[in-house]
Subunit: 125 residues, 2 copies
DNA sequence: CGAACTGTTATATTTAATATATAACAGTAT
DNA sequence: ATACTGTTATATATTAAATATAACAGTTCG
């Protein structure tokens, strides 16, 4: 479990932690049943408050990705890859919706957008 | 000048105002040299503080879209459509970058994304 | 059992961004 | 002059995020 957070990011720390854990679950870096670092250990590693880590874990549990048991810790639930993929697909759709709205207002064509997509997809393989 | 703001939006009111004015400038609803509502008038209309409107106007001026003169008011600068378009293009690129990153991690293909784009472009013409 | 881990909860504080209220001041137009 | 403009300063309120600290509770293991 290798979490990297940015203190200066506008994105809240607990959100950054959530994202990285989801990604680790998806990429199988974190396997089913695997125990996550305890809130205090991770807080210590990241030099942040354990309450911030707890917030991330609480939300990950509410979203069905991990399970926390008092006294024991938090572990990765039988992962629902489809769930994760769907969640991200929704995020992508939201971004696309923003793009389409902006494009229509500011006279950017469908082809221009598609070209950008294609170019950026090829980059940094 | 017809500004609509949402009190419940997570987007700051001054940002909403900025966006709507930029859009109005782009669509020529607000023409070159046209006087914007005074900060107090708009604040009154929207039932918000004039300081919030001032913040929006100040930033619009810093970004080169309007000009404010003490005692007179704020008016639309000779508009630089290209500037606006470029600004929005950057916003779009940022969104695309997010999309591409997510897609690569979560196994969503270029074609899937392009299809979504095409579908959403056709919708709500 | 007891020590050393886990997580939980409550309280209080800090910081930054947003938004507000109010009052006083300054420029412009008529 | 008056009535608009914008400007500035001060103070306050709200919210989200993050923190610090202390006390409490469950689990594990020697």
């Amino acid at each position: 479990m290798n979490i990297i957070i940015s203190n200066s990011s506008s994105e809240p720390i607990y959100e950054q932690i959530k994202k990285e854990i989801k990604q680790a679950i998806y990429s199988n870096e974190l396997k089913e049943e695997e125990i996550l670092p305890s809130v205090r250990v991770m807080a210590n590693d990241l030099k942040i408050s354990f309450l911030t880590v707890k917030k991330a874990y609480d939300e990950l549990e509410a979203e069905g990705f991990i399970k926390t048991v008092q006294g024991k810790g938090s572990y990765v639930l039988p992962k629902n890859l489809e769930l994760l993929r769907e969640e991200k697909l929704k995020e992508i759709e939201k971004n696309i919706s923003t793009i389409v709205k902006l494009s229509k207002i500011y006279g950017i064509t469908e082809e221009e957008v598609v070209n950008l997509i294609r170019i950026m997809f090829e980059e940094d393989l």
